[in-house]
Symmetry: D3
Subunit: 317 residues, 6 copies
């Protein structure tokens, strides 16, 4: 079945890394709370680009990955195998966490299929997630990037990080990241030069270091807590949806992706139901970008709005 | 009594269109939760323009419109007659919903008094609200614009829409809107050119097509859910209050209005009590603009702050 | 013990002025809810400036000031004496309210130690807090600025106010403020010229009028309610953390401070736990600025990000 | 498929009667929020009666009834036909509202199949729901009982009401109810004689007046708001789950039922997620009673706990 | 106007005693949140006693008492004068706090009119509220009972306290209370003998010691936090509404009252909106009892339900 | 220091078993949210028994146990050693979870010190927690009882379980429990015979089977969700605080205890802050019972209230 799908959405309900705030319940909330796929009110015609991605693509719900709910370490091979199966079927996986520990098996599976060093990752996050270990565990929400580099799945120079801020990592981790050639865009840079300019650079960097395929790793905490309070380690002064959404579309459309993950949504601290909703829309932005690419739309997507006698102002490709 | 009022605020507690999230309770929450009129702490001197609109204007609370709580269709003539009575008394109605189904009777009443085709509408919303019908009903929160155009109250070219985004409408509705000559400003345009520039255009368009009077239709979901989670169909990546407030003032001040409506506030999903508050302030911005106009203040309201020996920095007309 | 501290954080759990929304519980929530000092996950290396302020500074928790919970008037001398003790020990006090009534004793204590007229105040707030009295009481959350000027602790020209908006103060208070030579930056100015430009002026004004020492008075309601719903008198259309954080750092770093206060955080109306968090981060931004200054970093802190082979993009001094 | 089911659970997402508090979202919340059927942690072995009802019965989810979301009047025939289809297939329908307006079509469908006057109803509710009409509408959450009696589906003497309190109905409705011979057990009686004694009477009355089949109509507001805050018209001083649960089991087990409905759950005012949970358990208690009856268990279900050497204390049939 | 009222409901928005949790907002929430008077859905016919108290009584809303929001001490004479005015007009005051500090002026006003020692008080509370002072203040939410006894308004033997539990008062206060001859019914007694038996004693004690008039002082925290979380000092293991409601009715009906107060409702910590609702119903129970007495109903109100052919089961007097 | 303590309160912030709802944050919330020890308003004189336990006992806060936050399996020896250290110092440990997985190391430590088979456990819980394993892990919140019996720390006949209900365990676990001779009191028994009668039996059983020392294991979900919504697996129709509190006191007073644990409090789903409060009071009830025993109070604690001239009604030993 998945063999015929363009995109396979799957949950990875894994939340062992400190167990903070219940991200294991993310897949359910993002699917249903955000009215994604299971409840379709009328249409999914994306107003910015004048296209219904679900008419262009066959998008399926692939269910949830098997996990050991008491051990991230044990869950790693289960998830890796599950994701590899999706990728080998020819679908683009959209993996909904769960915490960020799932990036290790998710992206390792990409490497399994496309080859070591062949995948580049644009990583949106408030945190670098590159710690050596967490209480001695290799698998945790603080260390997936370290694992992927050390296992030689993804070279450090293939990581483009966006949105980092706050108080992590420490100096030693910082130095290690620099030694790996990781490309990191802190909020300080975004505040200084504007998000669009920084992202132009990031888009250029995405496949610059020799990677042939792009994967998006999106931690919802890259958004400011005003937009996404429902997450485990919120950090103020983050991105806005008006910054993030076009960028997710651009990466999927202009560069093209082979997979993506969205992690760290926790419905238990989402009092206005806004985090699951914005997470749902992040997925649709990615899907829309994939659909634009499949539809043969070319060039940068910031086209001039069409003006037909002063009547219509829409960004159409 | 209303004959002597400059502005008559009235509730229209109508929420039949899908009954989502209790917008029928909006009037109460916006009046009391936002401390509007009923509880006046000290003063209403607007700090941006150095003027207390309630000293300039006689603003009254006109109570709530009669509605059939089990039928929007039945409510239409009741609301239309109620609003017409306010307008005929010489007051500017500020109508507080309730859901957006009330736009049909509200604006039809404006047409009754000022004449078909004489009223222009600036419509702030995440959604176009121009569907043909809703489950066969003419009156619903998804179809008021269609009704007003089809009934020849307001020509399509008299509608200026601002803030549209997300996944509505579908292609057929989109085409119909374009055929009507509606002027639509999507968030894509705002993100690309900036809100102020788009609004300069919108202000110019407001009465450009032959309309002689301006009416504002404000759906609170035009704001991003971070600012207004308490609404029925929130859509991320919307406007901010710093964008919306000056625009409401400008339209009321520079162009002048004959009425306005604010709809879709639902206090049951407003955990920080911020949606009713921001809705209350939207009303005061409109009232302030009306007061500026009545006070004889002319020109664009973005005047240079007065600098009296480097001491004061305020936008005074 | 405090004699050896660079910074002494202390609570002032005073909330008598109308008793709105429980700001007396602010110190507890900001300390623990925001994981400040008492719970340190890993590190406090500030990512924007590549420096862990707690490695540079000795920061202590000085406990809470004694207050009369039934009388702000009675609390004034208790708090003033408590703060004076901290300042005389050589520490920079960071005073966590409580409501804004504590500004009177807090800043009077600064004047006691540094001399009348020697301290300048940058005051971030949605409100001017310069009323003559409140129901006949000299001490209240609406009148501390008036007290400090009338008692000749701080001349009016030493006050730089930032972020004012909404409907306070009235005309008489406004006139009095102007007569005192206070420098006030309304949101209207910020919306028109941008926050950075306004703050460049404010930084220049901070010590311009003859003051020798800078004190920061930060009311959390200067932020928009989307970012800080948990406060007593929220006012929409305020600042964002991305505007406020760098400014707190700049004042502490470029100008240097002798003390600061953060007031009006109320955990009872903070449904997503975001207000205490953003307040906690405000304190750390101030501490970071102090640490930058102590570390001998000079010049404006908006340096160009270091680019080491296109790999690192961080704002390092 | 439904022909082989013992029980068919179906949603009736109808909430037109005043649109208060979103009961249309009840089916979704009760199914998923309460982990019912869709997510089965381990087992459903009921501890009070030592039996897993899902091993005894074939329980299916029959989906949602079609409704006109803008008209309860229009929805009546759609729902009636939907329920009749379930009953004619031989299944016991468990109908999850939605508001109480669905009782009219639900129970009319029972009458269609079993014959007028053949069905008795035990109606748990804080309110009598027997008004003549609601703003002129025949169908509303305040009038279903009146409709069923006037349409001669269910004679008044076949209604046994339990848990009434508060301030409804008025004198005229009260008199009409008495004229119909309805049997009403107010909370006053329960408080005076105890719930168990009142329910013994109610169980005896259930089929006493000539009815041959029993239907349960359960409005969640029969529970005290401490247990079920998430409902449209909560009324304090209601039943507890420890009173209600055994009674639902007893009616389904000792008397036997042909159908049941659970209405007025609104997840939007359910801050601790407890209302959907207790509603879910109400359904399982009913299912358990049906399973006990099918298993051939006879007699009153308050058997003495089995004591095997002082070790086990369980109520086993 | 008040001269013709049987009952005058008035707010006393005073909350100085520690300012915990915003009880000053109680009057607004209890009036509107509980739909009391301002919004009357259909009828107020009390189902337990088959009587609409608002048909029997003229009940008016007398507005709010003047208070000094920054000083309970200053508020005492203002409130006392306000309440005396109501009582002298011949109305029974129902005073809605605010915190319990208002009991001092409220009940002192009763003494002013009826004479020292002539009023007995049944005081429902989790706490004894008999402290000598609070941080040196005579007026506070912890000391009103002490004030009333020391000022010789109400002798200690005229106080009947019900529902005390938890950890207050200390030994010295306890001894002082015993010396005054106060009659205190702890929850321990209620748990042991049942609420009804304890209340029979309390009803008998109410006017036993020579008092000629009864006043009810009701702190909402006498209820368990499951029923009333929205209060300043909740204490688990309290009364239920099914215990409290009949008792309020009995005191007002069987004994007769000259006034009552309801205090310590705080809408800011009332997430399911249940505290304001149950408080509203407490007021209606008192009003119902007054109406029963005025209607000439005599005897204990636990009459046998009327059984008219097995059809009706209601407690009618 | 702990050597001199009567009671040592310690946190065990372990929540690996499914990571549901954040019980790892229980110790912090119960200590501070419930105002326990760190914030003492006035006194802790227990009103039911007229005794301040903190005057009788030296109670210390022993900090938190070390845990591996990513592995319950790894945490077991760390916790066991930590608890053993407390017990060996002569203190009674009061261990605050964390989830119920901590019962294994907690109680194993008791066995280490007092000897295998010498400790009896009264286990209050909605669930039996006796599963063989959880996804292959020996340590989980569903299996601690099984571990303690299989490791021969505590014989099955030394377990008295109270409050079980809902749908766990399955038949096989049920049979195993019976084979072990466990004494289980389901809610069915409590509903039938009353809690007091069942607890008389349970108190008698506590040390009947040969155990010499009593330990209390309290899962907060034994309370009904109306009283304790903030927990991972709430189950309706549970105990009330008025049932549970006296029982905790009785066990600690009449039987005497060597330790206790309170688990499964999750502050993230505790919207009215009532769960942490009631959990705090549970601890104080236990401490009070220990203090009563140390004070030499003998006999059953339901003594007749002392009546000194009809004035005092308190349960004093």
């Amino acid at each position: 079945m998945a063999a015929r799908a363009d995109i396979a959405i799957a949950g990875v309900p894994c939340d062992m890394s400190l167990g903070m705030r219940g991200a294991a319940q993310g897949p359910h909330s993002i699917r249903s709370g955000g009215a994604f796929l299971h409840y379709s009110p009328m249409t999914y015609r994306h107003q910015h680009v004048d296209l219904d991605p679900f008419e262009v693509l066959n998008v399926v719900d692939y269910g949830d990955a098997p996990v050991d709910p008491l051990s991230t370490d044990n869950s790693v091979p289960m998830i890796r195998s599950f994701v590899r199966e999706i990728v080998e079927s020819g679908s683009i996986p959209l993996l909904v966490g769960g915490d960020h520990s799932i990036a290790w098996p998710n992206i390792a599976a990409m490497s399994d299929v496309y080859g070591p060093g062949k995948v580049g990752v644009v990583h949106f996050d408030a945190h670098a997630d590159a710690s050596d270990n967490f209480f001695g565990h290799l698998s945790s929400h603080g260390s997936p990037i370290r694992r992927l580099i050390q296992d030689e799945h993804i070279p450090g120079s293939n990581f483009v990080q966006v949105g980092l801020r706050g108080f992590y990592p420490d100096q030693a981790t910082h130095n290690w990241m620099q030694d790996q050639g990781m490309k990191t865009h802190f909020m300080a840079e975004i505040e200084r030069y504007g998000f669009e300019k920084v992202m132009d650079t990031a888009v250029d960097q995405a496949l610059a270091a020799g990677a042939e395929h792009l994967y998006i790793s999106l931690d919802i905490d890259v958004l400011d807590p005003a937009y996404a309070p429902g997450t485990g380690t919120p950090e103020p002064a983050g991105l806005t949806p008006r910054e993030l959404f076009p960028m997710l579309r651009r990466l999927s459309h202009e560069v093209g992706i082979v997979g993506a993950e969205l992690v760290e949504v926790n419905p238990l601290v989402d009092p206005g139901y806004t985090t699951a909703l914005v997470a749902n829309r992040c997925l649709i932005e990615i899907i829309t970008g994939v659909a634009m690419r499949k539809s043969g739309i070319v060039g940068r997507h910031y086209l001039d709005p069409v003006k037909a006698g002063d009547q219509w102002h829409i960004e159409r490709p």
